[in-house]
């Protein structure tokens, strides 16, 4: 493993019980410290399976994954302490306020007292929750829920942030604002970010490197600029369609 590699997976495969096909097939990938890495692919490509194995939610059928040198098989507790996770679904209690949700998440990561309160306030202000942080989450708009969902993953300032489709359902303004915040975190705190997405334009703008995957395999890997150049595409979407085809997925 390279000294600056943050996430490293080798020959990673996953076959769900009762399924004939592999959700992940022999994936080998390295993500470096401090980079923003986009994992792109159509529905059913294996992005969420990859994400779940890296978070320790799933066990691989074969191969291994290491996060900051810790094995997902053996050192999951060490990994949990250094990662922040933003799930695809809204992972919040709808009847609690945004602030109470964040206070709970902060406590679960060991933050307490004044430090916790200040950190929650800082994040709320940064993400535009000056007025309605004490309202119940169920009264928030979809974009507001997404923002609180994101804050839940960065509140404890993790070394590695894992985001599964974090901007789904957001308007362009909120999406751009959120990605800018992530870019800022990446620069200021040297936070490594791995995120899965369908938004290729967004990935092209913000990611240092991307991997396009389909049917459980990595099809290409590199910086968006290099990939576009190498594949003679107009943009990343063009490259994406070239690798994954135009067939509609389930």
């Amino acid at each position: 493993m390279k000294e600056n590699s943050c996430i490293r997976v080798s020959n990673l495969s996953k076959k769900y019980s009762g399924s004939d096909s592999f959700a992940l097939k022999d994936v080998t990938l390295e993500i470096f410290n401090g980079e923003i890495f986009g994992l792109l692919g159509p529905n059913g490509a294996g992005k969420t399976t990859f994400f779940s194995i890296v978070c320790g939610l799933l066990n691989a059928t074969s191969g291994n994954a290491q996060i900051a040198g810790y094995s997902t098989d053996k050192d999951i507790e060490s990994i949990k302490k250094i990662i922040g996770v933003v799930p695809q679904d809204i992972a919040l209690y709808p009847t609690l306020s945004g602030r109470d949700n964040l206070m709970f998440i902060g406590r679960m990561y060991g933050l307490k007292g004044k430090v916790l309160k200040e950190r929650v306030q800082e994040c709320l202000s940064k993400f535009g929750f000056d007025k309605n942080s004490n309202e119940q989450v169920k009264k928030y708009s979809g974009g507001m829920k997404r923002r609180i969902n994101l804050i839940g993953g960065i509140l404890h300032e993790p070394e590695i942030l894992l985001l599964d489709e974090p901007t789904v359902g957001m308007d362009v303004q909120t999406r751009t604002s959120m990605m800018e915040h992530l870019k800022e975190l990446n620069k200021e705190k040297k936070m490594t970010i791995l995120y899965t997405s369908h938004y290729l334009e967004q990935a092209e703008l913000f990611c240092d490197r991307v991997a396009i995957m389909d049917q459980g395999q990595i099809l290409c890997l590199g910086s968006p600029v290099d990939l576009i150049k190498k594949e003679n595409g107009k943009d990343l979407e063009d490259v994406f369609l070239k690798f994954t085809g135009r067939k509609i997925r389930d």
Partner: protein, 425 residues
């Protein structure tokens, strides 16, 4: 511990903002206990105060009919209507009145009952003095008709009719002695009249079998109903708890929970703790209701005994058993709808088996055996020991042990189910 406290605070906040949940958890149980106790108490009181409507159709003009009439009038429990065959000519008339709800029980003394009794006694008396005559069978029997309301509780009707039969038997004995005395005097050609004492030969001294003979325990609707319905209510905690577990598991929250440092089970423990305290608060509220509110409405004061350690331990184990059952249901099912239907019906079944609705000793033998598998029955037996039988810790420790084993069983099975569900991923 930190995570446990964090989850406890979170669950507590979720609970206090949920007005429907608060109503289900605190107001409904208190209302249930209140209404059920009041109904049972009032049902008994109204019958005993206003009197059980009894019809006595006395077609006999002799001493038997008259003695029965006199005796019945002394019965404060009965609201007696006497007819001498003028209004109610036959059983059909009487049955119609009972079906219409006018009476619960009717007794029909047939015409000439005293004469039949007199003849029979005469025959018997003669046989004492006639060596050749042996009376093996009485010539004619007096047939007293007892007609009852089929909609009245069977046990209630049985108690009333057996009381009436007992009373008739005692009157019959007195009349029998009277006639026999007269016959003997006649045979001996004596003018002496037999004077029979007014009092009975037997007096009954009834008391309740309790463990602590130093204290008087008075079984009543409050002592019986409050613990029974408190147990039933506490077990209904299963529904919101299982629903909350399933909702948390089926949303993105479960992913977040599992990526928090530490074990997910410690987070779950925080949730269980909150519901455990809710169960304890429910119990305390219901006890306070029995102790202070119900007496204001004329009901007896709830006597919870003096064995605080036993009462506390039993209540803790009951609450833990209910919470662990909620965890089991929440782990077993995938949707809140499934858990609500199964949880609700299973509690109804367990409560019926456990003797909450009908006392276990009134059930058929097979059901009595089955009832011993219900945790609600274990708790009920324990509370009856403390509240009615005057028992102490020793008397309830087996019930506490069974509840503890149920708690351990439910937690273990839930954990294994949880692990097997994770393995499926």
């Amino acid at each position: 511990m930190r995570r446990l406290i964090a989850t406890f605070i979170k669950e507590f906040k979720i609970l206090i903002v949920d007005k429907t949940g608060i109503t289900i958890l605190f107001v409904m149980p208190v209302m249930l206990v209140f209404i059920m106790t009041l109904i049972q108490f009032e049902a008994y009181k109204s019958l005993t105060q206003s009197g059980i409507p009894v019809l006595l159709v006395n077609n006999d003009n002799g001493s038997l009919g008259l003695s029965l009439e006199k005796g019945f009038k002394k019965f404060s429990i009965c609201k007696l209507t006497v007819d001498h065959g003028e209004k109610y000519k036959n059983s059909e008339d009487i049955k119609k009145r009972i079906v219409d709800g006018e009476f619960i029980v009717a007794l029909v003394i047939p015409k000439g009952a005293t004469n039949v009794l007199r003849d029979n006694v005469g025959e018997m008396t003669n046989s004492f003095f006639d060596k050749e005559k042996t009376t093996k069978q009485i010539a004619t029997q007096v047939k007293i008709e007892v007609i009852v309301d089929p909609t009245a509780s069977k046990s209630f009707v049985m108690a009333i009719s057996s009381g009436l039969k007992e009373f008739i038997a005692s009157v019959k004995t007195k009349v029998l002695f009277q006639i026999m005395g007269e016959k003997i005097a006649q045979l001996l050609d004596s003018d002496t009249k037999a004077v029979l004492p007014e009092q009975d030969f037997f007096v009954y001294d009834e008391s309740y079998a309790v463990r602590n003979s130093g204290k008087t325990y008075e079984p009543n609707a409050v002592q019986h109903n409050i613990p029974a319905w408190a147990i039933f209510s506490i077990f209904f905690i299963v529904l919101p708890l299982a629903g909350s577990i399933i909702n948390e598991r089926s949303e993105g929250l479960f992913i977040r929970m599992r990526t928090f440092p530490g074990n997910y089970l410690s987070i779950l423990s925080g949730k269980l703790f909150v519901y455990f305290f809710v169960a304890i608060i429910q119990f305390v509220m219901i006890m306070l209701l029995g102790k202070f509110v119900m007496p204001m409405l004329g009901l007896p004061v709830l006597d919870i005994g003096t064995h605080w350690f036993a009462l506390t331990t039993l209540t803790i184990m009951l609450s833990l058993a209910a919470v662990s059952y909620g965890l089991l249901i929440g782990t077993l099912f995938s949707t809140p709808q499934q858990s609500a239907v199964f949880g609700g019906i299973s509690i109804l079944i367990l409560s019926a088996l456990g003797g909450i609705w009908v006392p276990v000793n009134l059930m058929p033998p097979i059901m009595q055996t089955i009832s011993s598998v219900s945790p609600l029955n274990w708790a009920l037996v324990g509370y009856y020991e403390l509240f009615i039988k005057g028992g102490d810790w020793q008397a309830i420790q087996f019930q506490v042990l069974k509840l503890a084993l149920f708690f351990i069983f439910s937690i273990t099975v839930s954990y294994q189910l949880y692990k097997s569900k994770l393995r499926k991923y």
